[in-house]
């Protein structure tokens, strides 16, 4: 088994690293300081930490106001709230104004577990990426989340970062280069390409290894940036491998699979299969049980790969 760590810890550590370098970095939370791991920052820089109470809409706009005075505000709440309850505030105040606000959507995906459907954010990519000016990132592990957080802090504009609650396999290391909008090739291959984000990158790697045992050479792309998506890497994958499978812990409509499809059909059409949550709400259960029950494991990626290869001309 690989090392297991929480992506949210990467967010927390990234905030502290940013705070160390930039006195304008401020952090806000809506009564979820501990679970979003903003507390690392809050303890070190209490004068730059803003507790907003249970008021996500206000938090979004307070962050916007802080940004107007030159602050670099990072806010965190559960993605289920950030991407929906304060959506109007994101769309009009933050994105339309193109403000330097960084939104942390914690506890993303079904892997939140026993809290059930209300707290399992699985629509954020579709919702947020449809809004102009927004950048959307879903890092794969603790290191990548830390780097993505720091990169967001050093890049002007509104960002949405999705990270999870549970320990997930560490698939990159401290030194893996991270660039916004640039996919990382995690495994080389020529028969098909598996494009994944978040904790599904690990599942994609497991699937690729299994496929390899059967003589199928699968490339794995870690598409940590959902928007702006790495068109170049997708088109290259179409041309060089001729088939695509996407894998994400998100609804099947409008997420990573949708974003990749948009590039594929307009540039170099090849058969595609999408591994995602099939247009249904989540439910309570253990994270590992839910990943299986909702078809988000290497098994489904392998099946999708076999299916897509049959469709490949």
């Amino acid at each position: 088994m690989p090392e297991m760590k929480k992506t949210r810890e990467g967010w927390g550590k990234g905030l502290v690293a940013l705070g160390d370098e930039n006195p304008n970095v401020v952090v806000l939370t809506a009564d979820l300081n501990g679970s979003t791991m903003c507390n690392f920052f809050a303890e070190k820089y209490p004068e730059r930490f803003v507790q907003v109470g249970i008021a996500e809409q206000n938090m979004m706009c307070v962050a916007a106001g802080l940004s107007l005075t030159g602050k670099v505000p990072f806010l965190a709440t559960y993605g289920a709230f950030a991407s929906t309850r304060s959506l109007d505030q994101i769309r009009i105040t933050v994105a339309y104004s193109n403000l330097n606000v960084k939104i942390g959507g914690a506890h993303g995906g079904i892997s939140v577990g026993p809290d059930g459907a209300t707290h399992q954010a699985m629509e954020e990519f579709a919702i947020i990426r449809s809004i102009p000016n927004m950048t959307v990132i879903c890092p794969s592990d603790i290191h990548e989340t830390r780097k993505a957080t720091i990169a967001a802090g050093n890049t002007f504009g509104p960002f949405y970062l999705r990270f999870g609650r549970e320990n997930v396999p560490v698939v990159t290391n401290e030194d893996t280069p991270f660039q916004i909008g640039k996919a990382i090739e995690m495994a080389s291959g020529s028969d098909l390409t598996i494009i994944a984000c978040g904790m599904m990158v690990y599942e994609a790697l497991v699937a690729a290894e299994e496929l390899g045992k059967n003589g199928i050479s699968a490339r794995v792309l870690n598409m940590h940036t959902i928007k702006p998506i790495d068109r170049e890497a997708i088109i290259k994958a179409c041309e060089e491998t001729g088939a695509i499978v996407t894998a994400e812990e998100h609804q099947i409509h409008g997420g990573l699979g949708g974003a990749v499809s948009e590039v594929v059909v307009q540039n170099s059409p090849v058969p595609m299969e999408l591994v995602a949550v099939k247009d249904r709400f989540g439910k309570s259960g253990k994270p590992s049980e839910l990943m299986k029950a909702f078809g988000l494991t290497s098994k489904e990626i392998i099946e999708a790969s076999q299916k897509v290869l049959k469709r490949k001309k």
């Binding site: 401020v26 004068e47 730059r48 803003v50 907003v52 109470g53 008021a55 809409q57 206000n58 979004m60 706009c61 307070v62 962050a63 916007a64 106001g65 802080l66 940004s67 107007l68 005075t69 030159g70 602050k71 505000p73 109007d88 505030q89 009009i92 105040t93 339309y96 104004s97 193109n98 403000l99």
Partner: protein, 286 residues
């Protein structure tokens, strides 16, 4: 340092602003008359007496900040901006037009000086509160001014911001409520009552000042009191009249979101001491 207008000059400026509002709405063929005219006097006091702003240099670091949380009153916002020099007055004639830059609701990207885009009610106050907190973190001496509608206070987010400002004891923010008692569907108290507003704000630990929102002496005195109030935010409840200054618009909710037609505009301009043609020419040449 910009010259501060005295009371007589403010009255004269407010008259010009009202002429701008009627004229730009007439050419736009759509837009919000009622709230623009009811908040004209307070806005004029802010832009021409109270605030430290540099319209030629909107990003001026020492500036006070202003936020119209009621984004739909763009006629008064743009008129105040043009009259104080943020952009040429002739731009007002292309309000809401594809080849103009003055959007129906405020857009930061198009108009330097607009701090934040807005138009979905209830958001601007939170932005203002955030700007007030950020300014205090920097020990910046600026003051932050927010203008809210009375109907807008029905939005839940307003009270989140009200609670926040009091909790953080933000005494560098001053909020004006354009209390014209009308909203698009009718009387505020019939649609969704907000009375008693003064007690509501007081119970949220705000300093509350109630004034006649068309009386410049009272407006300036209230702004002075707000500056001298420490440890809590101030709200000025400005009793105003929807459509103020144009007889056939006054106190009628039907003028919330409608412009005058040409004939109505002629009557309005006459009441405001000009003609549509004269004021159009004035705007074209300035």
């Amino acid at each position: 340092m910009r010259k501060k207008l005295n009371i007589d000059e403010l009255k004269a400026k407010a008259l010009e602003v009202r002429r701008d509002i009627i004229t730009m709405l007439t050419y736009a063929g759509s837009g919000h008359s009622g709230g623009s005219l009811s908040s004209t006097d307070y806005g004029t006091a802010l832009f021409f007496n109270e605030m430290n702003i540099d319209p030629k240099n909107p990003e001026y670091s020492e500036r006070d900040m202003w936020f119209f949380s009621i984004g739909h009153v763009t006629p008064v916002i743009y008129s105040l901006m043009a009259e104080s020099g943020y952009f040429e007055k002739n731009a007002l004639l292309k309000f809401r037009k594809l080849d103009g830059f003055l959007e129906g609701h405020p857009c930061k990207a198009h108009v330097p000086g607009i701090e934040c885009s807005g138009g979905s009610l209830g958001q601007g106050l939170s932005v203002a509160v955030g700007a007030a907190l950020g300014s205090r973190m920097d020990k910046h001496s600026r003051r932050v001014y927010a203008i809210c509608g009375d109907g807008e206070l029905q939005e839940g987010q307003i009270w989140e911001a009200v609670m926040f400002a009091a909790h953080y004891k933000l005494d560098n923010i001053c909020v004006f409520v354009d209390y014209n008692r009308k909203q698009i569907d009718g009387d505020v108290e019939d649609i969704m009552g907000i009375h008693p507003l003064d007690e509501k704000f007081r119970s949220f630990n705000w300093n509350v000042i109630t004034i006649d929102g068309h009386n410049f002496e009272e407006i300036l005195a209230a702004l002075e009191e707000a500056k001298n109030t420490k440890g809590k935010p101030t709200v000025i409840l400005g009793n105003t009249i929807m459509g103020k200054g144009v007889s056939f618009m006054e106190d009628l909710h039907t003028w919330h979101g409608n412009p005058p037609n040409k004939e109505q505009a002629e009557i309005a301009c006459k009441e405001l001491g000009t003609t549509l043609e004269e004021w159009t020419t004035h705007l074209e040449n300035n």
